[in-house]
Symmetry: C2
Subunit: 479 residues, 2 copies
């Protein structure tokens, strides 16, 4: 017979405790649908409690539909499975576990997660401990809705020193990841605006705008970046672009196109540009071109950046720089939001920037990635596929493109590599209207790979390229 | 003449450095609009650099509109003020500084921020340091989009033990504050749904739904809570309610109305209930009534709660429990979101709950607040206004209501108190269609007050009540 302990039931009434125990067992299916419950009398005897207590518990369970009674037969467990159990949860493994599927591959060129080994964990932990000591008072007060002032000041100084941007801390809004800020922008402008996103581009950008209720148009790129004519044709009001380093094409928008974009925005009051500067810290060669924000005298540019790539993707701090008149609108319209980033993390990042660690970290990362890139480029050059590949856009950011002389489709090549344990994505996969396009160009994110992985991956890739090269197309056999 | 140092210009070209210096000074108005710049020749001589360098810097500044040239006269600073400087930023002080306006009042009954002194800072700091040591690996990996599994497991166990809810960790989604989760819900269901919010209620709830693009209807309350008839009449699809402790009325929805609400939701596929359980931990008297979530066998309830009140409002962790079929929809529609809460904070909260500190903390807070409430109630009873006040809804949560026998309007009384340094809000202020309603009922949030503040505030209030009491209405003087 069912037995439950009444030892530590806290302040619950006895019947409540019994009701809870039974309910939990019914829900977890320890007691199955249709199963008969003990009679009130025998159950009471067995548990050493009164019949009234059993009665009350059964009544509660009946009123909630967990059990039912049949006259002269007794109490039976209801079938609640039709509602709650049959529906399986289709949760991706990734959504639950702490580990990613990184390990499933010999090498993964598909994502530009930063190398964790480069994260200055000891410094970070030290600063965090210092913040716990130094800011005890501040840590208990809700930060202002735009973010902790000390962090906004540190970011303003950083932007001034490294991106030549003159920004008031007031213009900076701290967010929990760039997706959060995309959503805030839609809420700032309203859901009725038309957003133009780059095609090809990060699929997530368009997805976030769309689930926030905004209309999205996919705008083609030409060699200089996002097409201004198409922005006009598609009646775009807010253009989202990454002129410093477009993903996936790797293109850098020249200054002339930047002025054209600012010109486009200046022509209509409702037009704005979102400048997503997601990996500008990792320019490998040459001087950076001024950000749109820094040459915008017309208050048309919202500048966005994140520390996910430059510090660690577990930090989840991003920020946007609003033009001054939009700062007013922001606080008028969205004043009721609290800053979503915990104070302790804001203050630690502020210290990390303010005490010079961020600059050192970026420099070290840049050197490290440059070395990785060079090893990878060298390996490719030394491989048997060297005459069959062209490297494109290797000067900025954490990825470049590999154009291959192969005869199969992009999907076929990606599939062949996947079977060999190498994850790779074709540029064509990032196009919205892809249809059966094959550009034979692949995105090479190299930031998280070890030297060993690079060597193995290039060897495997080289073999596959030679197998699929145009030269190897079987000649029509003579009949 | 303008002088700039070329000592540490890093990898900048000379002209770039000069261009940056000039631009910065023009923007900061160190060099005023209309001011003439030095001639190229004399400037070059003064700085000890070539004329070509000056020329390049001037050209860049011209192309960007910062300076202009007049033939045979030279180079002049453009007036960029019309665009960028005239517009003043109307930033609320609160949005920038770290301190709130709490100190401006002798006592503030208007907000239920939790008392910082109760926060177990030492334990918190210890756990945070432990997490830095124990979870080095996990801290560098992006948490799954629903939140760190260890935290979701801890929450599921907590809900099981203290709210009698049987929840899979998969059903829990971690968010950065409840506002973030309100937004996610709108994105989950789409912007075309009609949300019903309680009137009176937290203004922020409706505001967040509205800026996210959803339609909002204000639904009246009766003595039992949100009106089901009105939900039907207003064609509400998603009802937002706080049955455990409504704000500001303090009402607790009885079990019968809870079943009615579940019945309403079950009648149409698109109907759902958002159960906002924001301060249920602080029930002062009696047993809690089961949550809607725990008696919902039809998967119609989204349960929401936050640690802002129960741990600290700087923690910014909230969570929602989705019915199982909505878990599928969530990952299908919003899979691309990253979890907005930094891993370190998630892991520390998980430890805080898992190692029993959360329970201890809640119990200590509850005892502390109960004592505060009792002092406040006693002070009121001992005061001269005792016969002129009625206390309402003092059994749950961190506020109760004070009904006063006064003859002035609510606004007049709030104003009179404000002039005495006491911040207070009338229940009528939380009504959407307030017009000139005066209920003479005021919201008393007592959680952040010291004993001293309570005493002073009751004295002042007592004096004001006696001044404004109905008895003191001047009788018509005989003519």
């Amino acid at each position: 017979m069912l037995t439950y302990s009444f030892a530590d039931i806290g302040s619950d009434a006895l019947y409540e405790h019994l009701y809870k125990c039974l309910k939990a067992d019914i829900i977890s299916r320890k007691i199955k649908p249709g199963e008969k419950l003990p009679s009130k009398r025998s159950f009471a005897k067995n548990l050493g409690i009164s019949v009234i207590t059993i009665e009350n518990a059964y009544e509660q369970l009946m009123s909630e539909g967990y059990i039912y009674s049949i006259a002269k037969k007794g109490f039976f467990v209801a079938d609640i499975s039709s509602v709650s159990s049959k529906k399986q949860i289709l949760v991706d493994r990734e959504n639950l576990s702490m580990t990613s599927d990184e390990e499933r591959y010999l090498a993964d060129f598909s994502s530009n997660r930063i190398s964790n080994k480069q994260f200055p964990f000891t410094v970070w932990a030290k600063l965090l401990r210092e913040c716990l000591l130094d800011y005890q008072e501040e840590l208990l007060v809700k930060p202002p809705s735009g973010g902790a002032l000390v962090l906004r000041k540190a970011i303003a100084k950083h932007l001034h020193d490294f991106r030549n941007m003159n920004v008031d801390p007031e213009q900076i809004i701290i967010g929990a990841g760039t997706e959060y800020l995309y959503g805030q922008i839609v809420q700032l402008f309203g859901q009725d605006k038309v957003y133009g996103v780059e095609d090809p581009g990060f699929p997530k950008t368009a997805q976030v705008y769309q689930v926030n209720g905004a209309k999205v148009k996919y705008i083609s790129l030409d060699e200089e970046g996002i097409c201004v004519e198409e922005l006009i044709k598609e009646k775009v009001q807010v253009a989202h672009t990454s002129p410093s380093h477009q993903f996936p094409t790797g293109r850098i928008t020249p200054i002339s196109r930047r002025y054209e974009l600012l010109g486009w925005a200046s022509k209509r009051e409702e037009r704005y540009i979102i400048e997503d500067d997601y990996d500008s810290e990792f320019r490998m060669v040459g001087k950076p071109i001024p950000t749109l924000q820094s040459i915008d005298v017309n208050e048309k540019v919202i500048y966005l950046n994140t520390f996910s790539k430059s510090i660690s993707n577990t930090v989840r701090i991003s920020y946007m720089v609003l033009p001054k008149h939009l700062v007013d609108l922001y606080y008028k319209k969205l004043y009721f939001y609290s800053c979503p980033v915990p104070s302790i993390v804001q203050l630690t990042v502020a210290k990390f920037i303010g005490e010079g660690y961020f600059e050192k970290h970026i420099n070290r990362l840049r050197t490290f990635y440059r070395k990785q890139r060079d090893i990878l480029l060298q390996e490719i050059q030394d491989s048997k596929m060297s005459s069959l590949v062209k490297i494109r856009e290797a000067d900025a950011g954490l990825h470049f493109l590999l154009a291959l002389s192969i005869s199969c489709t992009d999907d076929e090549f990606v599939g062949a590599m996947e079977r060999q344990g190498i994850r790779l994505r074709a540029v064509s996969e990032y196009y919205q209207n892809r249809e059966s396009m094959s550009t034979h160009t692949f995105v090479i994110n190299y930031s998280s790979l070890t030297e060993e992985q690079i060597k193995v991956a290039v060897q495997i890739m080289s073999k596959e390229v030679l197998l699929h090269t145009k030269k190897s197309i079987p000649k029509k056999s003579k009949k």
